[in-house]
């Protein structure tokens, strides 16, 4: 079943168009930086971008930071929102269940496939970022946000943990979208619902009046992976981020399962 779903993901033009679009934003940014030679002032603009002009090695994480607030969650919402609802509206859901594929299995396979998509997207963006960064700005030893340089080996695990942190953050998004996907036969509706939840979270996160709930918002710790590039690593927000996402994943996946396993399939 996993291989079948994987094949569906990889043969679907939409997958690759989405990844191409995700990659194009950092590429466009890189072209502007290269042509103008003007970067954001240090301490302003998207994370890492101010240092990219001096060192292309930072461009992979800068690229991820660029797509993280909006583009990547939209892509994940669309993929996860369509996971069950899309099958329902295409009329294929009933034939999968009759085949038979267990409902629980189908749901978790869909989550696994969304995870594959997230990793695929993140890795492609990071890899293209590395190539573009190298070609445009040159690769030097990685400086930390705190100013000290870190060795290549050290940089590798920091980047790897960043990728995992971003992927887990996106799995939080995916769980919300997947839950909505089991409620409706419209993939678009589920995706829009998940995006609305994220926008609400991002707005509340800016609101001083919402101070008391801010640490529990799903988007609050998204950019905390920046702390992985400090010396020494500031683990506090990273671990909080992992924990919050684990809660969101458990709650929404549980809700999705409870709904889908007992639902009348009328599509």
């Amino acid at each position: 079943m996993f291989l079948v779903e994987l094949r569906k993901l990889l043969t679907r033009p939409r997958t690759w168009v989405t990844i191409a679009l995700l990659t194009s934003l950092p590429v466009i940014v890189a072209v502007f930086l290269k042509v103008s030679g003007i970067g954001p002032r240090a301490g302003s603009g998207p994370p890492f971008l101010s240092q990219v002009l001096g060192n292309g090695a930072l461009f992979p994480v800068a690229a991820l930071a660029l797509i993280l607030p909006v583009f990547l969650p939209i892509a994940v919402s669309v993929i996860a929102g369509d996971a069950v609802a899309g099958e329902a509206s295409a009329g294929t859901l009933r034939y999968l269940l009759i085949r038979p594929v267990g409902r629980t299995r189908l749901l978790f396979t869909k989550l696994a496939i969304t995870t594959v998509f997230v990793f695929l997207a993140v890795v492609v963006v990071a890899a293209v970022g590395y190539l573009i960064g190298g070609a445009f700005f040159g690769i030097k030893p990685l400086p930390t946000v705190s100013g000290r340089t870190i060795a290549a080996q050290d940089a590798t695990w920091r980047t790897a943990v960043s990728v995992i942190f971003i992927a887990v953050s996106m799995l939080g998004v995916a769980s919300i979208a997947l839950f909505l996907s089991t409620l409706t036969d419209s993939g678009l509706g589920a995706a829009l619902g998940a995006m609305a939840a994220l926008v609400t979270s991002q707005v509340l996160d800016l609101l001083v009046a919402a101070e008391s709930i801010r640490p529990y918002l799903p988007t609050h710790y998204w950019l905390s992976f920046v702390d992985l590039f400090r010396y020494p690593v500031l683990w506090h927000d990273v671990t909080r981020g992992f924990a919050i996402q684990a809660v969101y994943i458990a709650v929404f996946l549980g809700a999705a399962w409870a709904n889908f396993a007992t639902k009348d399939i009328e599509s």
């Binding site: 079948v4 043969t11 009329g91 009933r94 009759i98 085949r99 267990g102 009328e266």
Partner: protein, 310 residues
């Protein structure tokens, strides 16, 4: 005779609506079973409950000897289905679609997959379908591909909802021949259809449902039992009318140019014939009038709530 499908008091309520109301279906092994009902009669909901897609609110289901929905995953591999139109991935070809569905569940050996797909496509007349994606198919081709999916592996029971939908007359004939061939090989088929002529010509048994209730369930031959009305073709209708009018037991004798028609009452056709011949009326034809399935269907469905099949 063992039962391929049994439901007892099967009931489904959606909010205030009673979609299926205490339905007792009984499909024997080897039946080509027609399942008839107007749109919105509860037919599809019943089929979906049998397949474990919709959960009943009351009653029980037994498919191939197993209780559903509790053991539905044990029986589904033995059932092939086409429910409310074929659902396929629009951007993939016929062969890729069939391969995906075959690989998604149990019982489809990878080693034989390609051969089984070619065989199934051949049987539904799609052998030369090529590589074009499903969304470029005509309705008839989509329907044939839906049938091909049920033929990928051998099944003991086929549940087919409007299988000839969108097919041209030749296509319908091909598919009917295919269904009869499958039944001859021992498959039990439940065929839901609006085409009453189709059900009448190929089915052995049928059930009629309307507004969630089972109105009739019997062998086709018995559903279409003679109405008791007889038509007699003779050269001398006047004399025939006189003879029959004078004898007791025959009612409402009417005459036209070609002969007479009458209600047999309690008498047998043999008796009627003897009466005419002994009284010097030559009988060319004596026809027992039988209702068409359409007559039976419309009579039953109109009696209990006026609704016309769509």
């Amino acid at each position: 005779m063992s039962r391929a499908l049994l439901t007892h008091n099967l009931t489904k309520r959606f909010g205030a609506t009673l979609a299926v109301d205490h339905v007792d279906l009984e499909v024997h092994e080897g039946d080509l079973f027609g399942f008839l009902g107007p749109n919105g009669s509860g037919k599809t909901t019943t089929l979906r409950m049998i397949l474990g897609l919709v959960y009943p609110t009351g009653g029980s289901i037994e498919v191939l000897g197993k209780p559903v929905p509790r053991k539905v995953r044990d029986v589904l591999p033995r059932i092939g289905t086409l429910v409310e139109g074929p659902g396929f991935y629009p951007h993939l070809s016929a062969r890729s679609n069939l391969a995906l569905f075959d690989a998604a569940g149990p019982g489809g050996a990878k080693r034989t997959r390609r051969a089984r797909i070619e065989d199934a496509l051949e049987r539904v007349g799609l052998g030369s379908v090529g590589r074009k994606p499903f969304n470029a198919f005509s309705t008839g081709m989509q329907q044939r591909l839906g049938l091909a999916r049920t033929l990928l592996r051998p099944h003991e029971l086929l549940i087919l909802d409007e299988p000839t939908n969108g097919l041209d007359p030749q296509g319908m004939r091909d598919i009917r021949a295919l269904l009869e061939e499958l039944v001859a090989q021992g498959t039990t088929i439940v065929l839901s259809s609006h085409l009453l002529g189709e059900v009448e010509s190929i089915c052995t048994r049928a059930a009629i449902i309307n507004r969630g209730r089972l109105l009739a369930q019997d062998e086709i031959a018995r559903l279409l039992a003679p109405t008791g009305r007889v038509r007699i073709v003779t050269d001398d209708p006047g004399e025939a009318e006189r003879v029959l009018g004078a004898s007791n037991g025959f009612h409402s004798v009417t005459r036209d140019a070609a002969g007479v028609a009458l209600e047999l009452g309690g008498a047998s056709p043999e008796e009627l014939n003897r009466r005419l011949v002994t009284n010097g009326v030559d009988v060319r034809e004596l026809i027992l009038e039988r209702p068409t399935l359409e007559d039976v269907f419309l009579q039953l469905t109109n009696e209990r709530g006026a609704r016309v099949p769509g």
